[in-house]
């Protein structure tokens, strides 16, 4: 009986210690492990993540905070690393904030702007049939970037597009890490439909018109919010978050900031609250 009581007492102590460790915020003293700043945006036309990291590292170098920027191209890698490393700052699609924000204690900090708006459109695209007399078969496949958990894509597509004359349940949906993959798959006849950000379509239409010339826009979506800059409340004080936000709000006309904004296809920021 005595041994059981001792065992319970020891377990109490171990549990309390574990609880305290878990609740204590990680100090950000110099010389300790850097805090992570993760980025994931499947709808960005920026493919070269190494040069994005270079530009962001240049910007962060002026912050006097030990922050390590890590961009991700693939959702499973991003999600796994968020779980394992619990970053202090994130620039991520709002649907991910809905999915994991509560668990990570994420607080929105800034919203980026593109052409003065904090949202963008997505386009549902099909191939332009050259032979108008040809009977067009019902579409069987759709290529898209992620818009949330894979299981929610049909529902999300319905919500994005009003009066969509399409049987989504019959479609074979293939997710791709970048919008250009979806667009090329459509142009080249590998899928019947593509769902891409209007930014990607416009960028390619301007850069290489032949890549989009055989494609037609079936429908333009309701506005989709741009990625959002967040911080983890358990890891970052309000003061630190404010200093971090100031880095992005300074609107420098040249240098790493300008290059970074070009890569992200953003032209400004606004406070998220």
């Amino acid at each position: 009986m005595l041994r059981i009581r001792l065992l319970i007492q020891k377990s109490w102590l171990a549990l309390i210690l574990w609880l305290l460790l878990r609740l204590a915020p990680i100090p950000a003293a110099a010389g300790e492990t850097p805090r992570y700043f993760f980025y994931y945006d499947p709808d960005s036309p920026q493919i070269n993540l190494a040069s994005l990291k270079e530009a962001m590292d240049d910007l962060l170098a002026g912050s006097q905070q030990d922050i390590l920027f890590q961009p991700f191209a693939h959702f499973p890698d991003f999600d796994r690393n968020v779980t394992a490393r619990q970053p202090a700052f994130l620039l991520l699609p709002p649907w991910y904030l809905d999915l994991r924000g509560a668990f990570l204690d994420l607080k929105p900090l800034l919203r980026p702007l593109r052409e003065g708006k904090s949202a963008y459109d997505k386009l549902l695209l099909a191939r332009q049939e050259q032979d108008n007399k040809k009977r067009i078969p019902a579409p069987r496949s759709l290529a898209t970037t992620l818009m949330g958990p894979r299981s929610s894509v049909r529902a999300k597509t319905w919500l994005l597009f009003d009066a969509l004359n399409l049987d989504l349940d019959r479609l074979n949906i293939v997710f791709v890490p970048k919008g250009t993959d979806a667009l090329f798959a459509l142009t080249l006849g590998q899928v019947d439909l593509a769902l891409v950000a209007a930014t990607t379509y416009d960028f390619l239409a301007q850069r290489t018109p032949s890549l989009v010339k055989g494609v037609k826009i079936l429908k333009r979506s309701k506005p989709v919010p741009l990625p959002i800059l967040c911080y983890a409340e358990t890891k970052v004080s309000k003061e630190e978050a404010k200093r971090f936000a100031a880095l992005f709000l300074q609107r420098r006309a040249s240098g790493p900031y300008r290059r970074l904004m070009e890569m992200l296809h953003f032209d400004g920021w606004e406070k998220a609250h």
Binding site: I47, F75, L188, S210
Partner: protein
């Protein structure tokens, strides 16, 4: 007193559990009673494991893994275990796994088989079995050309050397894509690898770029080594289809994104197992996601000024 201790301990344990990461957060967790997938690997190859890792991260169904360890004579022993697991679908990675899975399922037509990372899949008749769907191992020629056109929009005439018997059918598809993209293919056919150099010299002054397609006759180590120097001597944009060929010195390569192949396979497997698609409805798809690799050292050597916007479109820029 002891009871109070125990009750307090349980209460604290519950608090701690509620603060722990939930299983849903830690990644997709298979639920009991859900369809099972068997992953059959040809061997212990890094590429197979990378694809499998992403497949497992995305599929959200239980996956049991089996490995032939490169030995086709292990097939009866391994396949008995695979079939005993009653999988709703077999993911076969590599040629050996695909052929074994095809052989063991062809009589019953069950379960459906999805293959990936099989070079020259036509050679194994994988498109002849109604229960088999798959993802090709290489980026489609059309997709390579589209990516190159996006990176270097100024290119108009592209030279290509191939063996008619080996690649004639694929060239028809490439010609169609080239026309769509506003490219003109300048073609030469060869019967032996040794004819490559003279064919290249004949077309060198008529093209803006040269595309080294993976034709078994033209694509030899000797020809690659020879081509690398000629691309620089002729100041020519040379295009290949693997990161290694860009590392060897060609300006640009359009390679398959292995991580995305794992996710694409998972999406197709879900379509079969959960949404009732048949393998025939899916067919054999090309890998849809690509990586563009640019060798910046070669760009400088051929005096090609790549604007930052072009480099922003590359997945990887080699500068050493």
């Amino acid at each position: 007193m002891g009871r109070l201790f125990a009750i307090g301990f349980l209460a604290l344990l519950l608090v701690c559990l509620s603060l722990s990461p939930t299983p849903a957060f830690a990644g997709p967790q298979p639920l009991p009673g859900r369809p099972r997938i068997a992953a059959l690997l040809s061997d212990d190859v890094l590429a197979y494991h990378r694809v499998l890792e992403q497949f497992q991260a995305v599929i959200n169904l239980p996956v049991a893994t089996f490995n032939l360890d490169g030995k086709i004579d292990r097939a009866p022993e391994v396949m008995q275990k695979v079939m005993a697991a009653k999988p709703a679908c077999i993911l076969a990675l590599g040629a050996k796994a695909a052929v074994v899975a095809k052989t063991w399922t062809q009589d019953s037509g069950q379960p459906p088989v999805l293959f990936a990372l099989v070079l020259n899949w036509r050679r194994y008749g994988l498109d002849q079995a109604p229960n088999i769907a798959g993802i090709e191992a290489e980026v489609a020629h059309a997709t390579q050309l589209a990516n190159v056109k996006m990176l270097l929009p100024g290119i108009k005439r592209v030279g290509v050397i191939y063996n008619e018997e080996q690649s004639g059918a694929l060239m028809a598809e490439a010609r169609k894509a080239a026309a769509l993209l506003g490219l003109e293919l300048v073609e030469a056919t060869i019967d032996r690898p040794e004819e490559f150099a003279s064919a290249f010299r004949t077309m060198a002054d008529k093209v803006d770029a040269f595309w080294m397609m993976s034709d078994p006759v033209a694509y030899t180590l000797q020809n690659i080594a020879w081509l690398k120097d000629r691309c620089i001597r002729y100041r020519m944009v040379c295009i290949g289809q693997s990161a290694n060929i860009a590392r060897a010195g060609l300006l640009v390569a359009v390679d398959v994104d292995l991580v995305a192949v794992g996710a694409q396979a998972a999406d197709l497997a879900r379509a079969i197992v959960l949404h009732g698609k048949t393998p025939q409805e899916i067919g054999i798809m090309p890998p849809l996601s690509t990586r563009i690799i640019v060798n910046l050292r070669t760009a400088r050597a051929i005096d090609l000024a790549l604007e930052p916007k072009a480099l922003d479109l590359a997945t990887l820029v080699l500068d050493r």
